[in-house]
Amino acid sequence: MTFEEFFHDYWWLMFPVFGMIIALIGMFQAEGRNRKVMDLIKAYVDQGKEPPPELLKLAGENSDYDMSFQSPKPRHSSAWSFVVFLALAAGFSVGYWFVRTEDYAFAFAIVAVTMGVMALGALLLLLLGRK
């Protein structure tokens, strides 16, 4: 199997692999940084000093790339997730429609359905989530 054949068959894998790599990097970076911030705040408090406001702000907010599941997200993030996933579902559905006769059309269908389910989940979280 040449590189061209391999790429032709598995090009779509680059998206989930990239997503997994970004999620892993984001999770590990966020965990290490949160620990450093908390240690610093503790050191300030132990010395009876006021921690700098930007450090407190850093402790209070989540990075856009923080993929850890325990971190609470603001309520409007579900609305934004719904919009993003809906747009992705619509985009991949249109893509599927254009290439529906090709062998690789299934990849578009899979992504469109996945994004649709994610959009539905985000909508449910938005409607039924904790106020």
Binding site: E4, H8, M14
Partner: protein
């Protein structure tokens, strides 16, 4: 074959560009947070 591959997958340049931008954003976000932490550490050691 390379030309054929490009003809089939030229549109991939858009999502790949998005992925590169996401990666740059991740690195820049991390650098700015590290900068704040380092500043706070220096401030603590200086006081």
């Amino acid at each position: 074959m390379t030309e054929e591959l490009f003809r089939d997958f030229w549109w991939l340049m858009f999502p790949v560009f998005g992925m590169v931008m996401a990666l740059i954003g991740l690195l820049q976000d991390g650098a700015s947070r590290d900068h704040i932490i380092e500043n706070a550490r220096h401030e603590l050691e200086r006081k």
